[in-house]
Symmetry: C2
Subunit: 141 residues, 2 copies
C-alpha cells in the first residue's frame, strides 16, 4: 500500500493573506472538509516575529491527521507559501492552484505528487488495489 504526498509551492501571493491566521485556518478547513481528513489534535500554529524590513511575520501550521499530516509555512516577505499534505490512505487530487490563486492571490503554483510507499516489497497483495485507486484520481474543481 502506498501513501501519497502533495508538495505545493505558491509564489507571488499577497503578503497580508500569508500573515493571516484566519486565511490559513480556512485553507486547512477546506482541505480537511474537501478531502475527508480527520485531525486527531488541535492544529499547531505559530506566527514568527515581523521581519526587519517591516514585513509581517510568517506563519507555520502543523495538523496531525488520522491520514498523516498537513503542514504549511508562509513567507510574506517573499510572497510565498509552502504546503505539504501527506495521506497514508487514498485521497483524490485537490485543486490547490485554483484555491491559492483565489484566496492568496498566488501568481504561480507548483504541485508535486510523491508516492510514499509504506508497505514492504514482500507484501504485494495491496498493489493491485493501489493501482486501481490511482486510475480514478481526478482534480477537484
Amino acid at each position: 500500500m502506498s501513501g501519497c504526498e502533495w508538495v505545493v509551492d505558491a509564489h507571488g501571493c499577497e503578503a497580508a493573506a500569508l500573515a493571516s491566521l484566519d486565511k490559513l485556518g480556512r485553507l486547512f478547513a477546506s482541505l480537511q472538509t474537501g478531502l475527508g481528513l480527520h485531525p486527531v489534535r488541535e492544529t499547531l500554529w505559530h506566527q514568527f516575529p515581523a521581519g526587519i524590513q517591516g514585513s509581517p511575520g510568517g506563519i507555520t501550521g502543523l495538523s496531525l491527521l488520522a491520514e498523516s499530516h498537513l503542514t504549511c509555512h508562509t513567507f510574506p516577505e517573499h510572497g510565498s507559501l509552502c504546503l505539504n499534505l501527506f495521506c497514508c490512505r487514498y485521497r483524490p487530487d485537490w485543486d490547490f492552484e485554483t484555491y491559492l490563486k483565489a484566496e492568496f492571490g498566488a501568481a504561480r503554483v507548483r504541485v508535486r505528487r510523491l508516492e510514499r510507499p509504506y508497505q514492504g516489497e514482500d507484501e504485494p497483495q495491496e498493489r493491485a488495489l493501489s493501482q486501481l485507486r490511482s486510475a480514478d484520481r481526478v482534480p477537484l474543481v
Copy 2:
C-alpha cells in the same frame, strides 16, 4: 532563497522500534542536535491504537521548528517509517540511512531531496549564494 526538504522512506524495520516513543524521540533529538535545529514548540506525538492483527500501533510525530518542520509516521505492521525534514535555511545532508539501519533495523532507506524555493523569481540576489551553499553539502557520518 531556496529551502530544502528531505523525504525519507525506510522499509524492513523492526516493529518494536517503530512503536517506541523513546526511539523516535531520540531520532528527533539526534536530528535536532546534529543539524542545529530549533524547536519552537513541544513535539506533538500521537500513538494510534494497535492493529487488528495484534501489531503495535503506529506513531506520528510533528515538530515545529524555527527552520520549518520535522515529521515522522511509523507503520509497525508494515515495518516502515516515513520522515520529512523541511529546512527553510541551509543545512547539510544527514546520514539518515546509517541511523535508521542501526537504530530501527531498516533493510532499505530511500532519501529524496527536494528544493523548496520560497523566494520569488523577481528576487534573484540570493541565487548565487544558494548555489554556493549547494556545493558544500556533504553526508554526515
